[in-house]
């Protein structure tokens, strides 16, 4: 397969780290960069259409830890939210439907 050329400009520090890693692995800088790009493309394709839970976790978990929030506390809160949503959005509509069915 004929290889195609792309030119990528990177910051000096990244270039230094890539070169060091390539030496460690005894591969050329070109091979290392090509493998890294391939891994990136594969992970992007595999991740398409999937919920960004890892990103959500990176956003929320440190906040919970800093606030010493416990799982039990959060789940209790979720329970309260469920009860409130039931009362505010669903209960009346379900009750009305049930009454209509009984009267017809």
């Amino acid at each position: 397969m004929e290889a195609r050329r792309i030119t990528v400009r990177v910051p000096p520090e990244l270039h230094k780290r890539l070169s060091s890693l390539a030496r460690e692995r005894s591969v050329s800088l070109n091979t290392l960069a090509s493998e890294a790009l391939e891994d990136y493309v594969e992970s992007e394709v595999a991740g398409q259409g999937r919920l960004p839970l890892k990103q959500l976790s990176a956003l929320l978990a440190p906040v919970a830890e800093a606030a010493s929030l416990s799982e039990e506390e959060l789940l209790n809160q979720a329970r309260q939210v469920r009860l409130r949503i039931w009362r505010e959005r669903y209960q009346q509509a379900v009750r009305s439907l049930s009454e209509q069915e009984k009267s017809s």
């Binding site: 959500l56 929030l69 939210v81 949503i85």
Partner: protein, 159 residues
């Protein structure tokens, strides 16, 4: 091979994203399930009713992060399982110990997953709820149970 479709309850979804590790930094059961999902072991089918609850919890507990969280979920919004109708909720009420769970249970039925994932033993794993899941060909698993399903844990003798 097609992936198993898993419908998560709000509680397990919250546990997965907020508590993937314990205070010692070790993966929790929810964290292990999150890692399985990230590795592509199964597909999550999420209900609009679940996201509505998630949004309210974020608003109360994580107000500074809520907008960013919402923007992360935005591209997924057209794939959410629609809200159940009052008739669909009424149909599952006899199977729920707590009526407030009925919209989520009805969403799970609409989603037609292979597995409903919930750690709520009182409603989702109760005998009458199990009858409903069975009627629809759906298995119900806890976080631990899902790890067993994927060979990461051993089933306990009592099931």
């Amino acid at each position: 091979m097609s992936q198993k479709r898993v419908f998560p309850d709000t509680g397990v979804l919250l546990a997965m994203v907020v508590f993937p590790r314990d205070r010692a930094g070790l993966p929790t059961l929810a964290g292990e399930v999150l890692a399985l999902y990230e590795a592509g072991a199964f597909e999550l089918v999420v209900g609009r009713a679940v996201v509505d609850e998630l949004d309210e919890v974020l608003d109360e507990r994580f107000p500074a992060q809520r907008l960013q969280a919402a923007s992360l979920l935005m591209p997924y919004s057209d794939r959410l399982v629609r809200l159940p109708t009052p008739a669909e909720i009424g149909a599952v009420l006899p199977f729920c110990n707590d009526p407030a769970d009925a919209p989520i249970v009805a969403s799970a039925i609409i989603a037609r997953p292979e597995v409903v994932l919930s750690n709520d033993m009182r409603t989702f794993h109760a005998a009458r709820a199990k009858a409903l899941w069975q009627e629809h060909g759906i298995a119900v698993e806890s976080l631990y149970g899902l790890l067993c399903l994927f060979g990461r844990r051993e089933r306990k003798a009592d099931g």
